[in-house]
Symmetry: C2
Subunit: 271 residues, 2 copies
């Protein structure tokens, strides 16, 4: 999928929403768990959420940890969930939230896993080990590396604000990564809870898409993110996970998820 196709989907659906699939079994509604094994419940919950939200979002972001936690059955559930989205929701942008980041020959194996064995469009990458960690992902046409630049969690400032050549680390990371890539194969994670910084970051990175976590459960404002972070070609995927998935714990959970999704990250902004 190209970034132009992604922008078309944003315009067509009127939203920049990416729904994060972090299915914590203990929070899956009782009506879904009843009579099902853990992995069956993960798959069924994913299907019901996807059916309800697909007209209201342009991307899904399964968080691999939440599937790996349940071992081989969990990985099978991930495989079925990805397959279900591919078969039933053409045009959705599929992100593996995996935060992989390792040396070249290992990164090549992760790329093979996530782009070939699983058919993801993009994978999140942790940049600590350098530009080498990203190169193998860039070789796939129509696929993206999404490098963590500035995250939205409380301890993000521990290391991401170290300085090199007079610039904060998150900027050094983005500039180095831009040198080896194009907006057609590289996006960045930029935390929404730092919305004030989005404008500044746009000034040195005008063209790439940003994946913005931290709205909803983590407290960021989707309107503020869109006002400060969007560009002429959209340029944003605004992620919400828990606020959508667990909007209700009752029988109406899918309807509630659809309702929250429909009210999140609308684009263009209405007055």
């Amino acid at each position: 999928m190209t970034e132009d196709q992604l922008y078309s989907a944003i315009l067509e659906k009127g939203t920049m929403l990416c729904v994060g699939l972090d299915p914590d079994y203990s929070r899956i509604p009782e009506c879904v768990r009843r009579g099902r094994s853990v992995s069956e419940a993960l798959v069924e919950f994913g299907r019901r959420i996807v059916d309800a939200t697909s007209p209201r979002c342009v991307a899904y972001k399964p968080n691999l940890a939440f599937y790996e936690a349940y071992g081989l059955d969990g990985m099978k559930a991930l495989d079925l969930t990805v397959g279900y989205i591919r078969d039933n929701c053409p045009g959705q942008f599929l992100i593996a939230d995996a935060k992989r980041g390792d040396i070249g020959n290992t990164a090549r194996m992760y790329a093979r896993s996530l782009f070939e064995t699983f058919d993801f469009d993009a994978v999140t990458v942790s940049p600590y080990m350098g530009t080498e960690t990203v190169l193998p992902f860039l070789d796939y046409k129509g696929k993206f590396a999404i490098v963590v630049a500035l995250s939205s969690n409380p301890s993000s400032a521990d290391f991401q604000t170290a300085v090199k050549d007079g610039k904060p680390l998150y900027r050094v990371v983005m500039e180095k990564m831009m040198e080896i890539s194009t907006p057609g194969n590289m996006m960045f994670v930029v935390g929404a809870t730092k919305a004030a910084k989005l404008k500044e970051i746009r000034s040195f990175c005008p063209d790439n898409f940003f994946l913005v976590p931290g709205v909803g459960a983590q407290g960021g404002s989707d309107r503020e993110v869109i006002a400060n972070g969007s560009n002429a070609k959209g340029g944003l995927l605004v992620n919400s996970s828990r606020a959508v998935l667990y909007a209700s714990s009752g029988e109406d959970f899918a309807q509630a998820a659809a309702s929250v999704a429909g009210a999140t990250a609308r684009y263009p902004l209405l007055p």
Copy 2:
């Protein structure tokens, strides 16, 4: 496994060697591949390497990417390999080389996956997103987070030498991580190709174990690493992957692996 038990194993076997299991199917000897599926070959290759090297090493480090690349069958092969080591090589320290690193609720899921579903003793963690990424791993008694501080790859200097409070990032990472942990639940990855730096790093981190990649195929010297990096309780795991695994591509591959393993990371150093 405690760090004292690990030190006892080092003294008993006379080695600090950790064998990295990075089984690239295309490099597995023909005699192992013949008549076997990919995942069967991964498992059989792992068994033969483990049988040959277990008396000559104190740890194994499966690299998860090399199993994930083959999808669900690959993960099953990982499960069987870990199980084989647990059943046949009591006392081996088992490291999941996964470079996981994500926010708290996600890290908790990775910890569950690697410490409960799989029974690893330790997991490598990428620190970019802050101390929060590590906390859930520290809650498991007798298990370790192994945080990447200074890696051995060519692009490690892209970001790891940024400066905060007058110190290089790898030092900031280590000092922050030491504040929230003990040598009983925290180790660090310190690249062997920077052996000159090992002494300096020991000066501010005297007690923790270091996992040192980069000897063998990547060119670091195991003797130099041990001379500069060991401490009064051993304090080192010296990793070799490709140099051991692919010591020979013939029928004698296991014997060749044993021979390379036996000559690597001997401890204490002989004159």
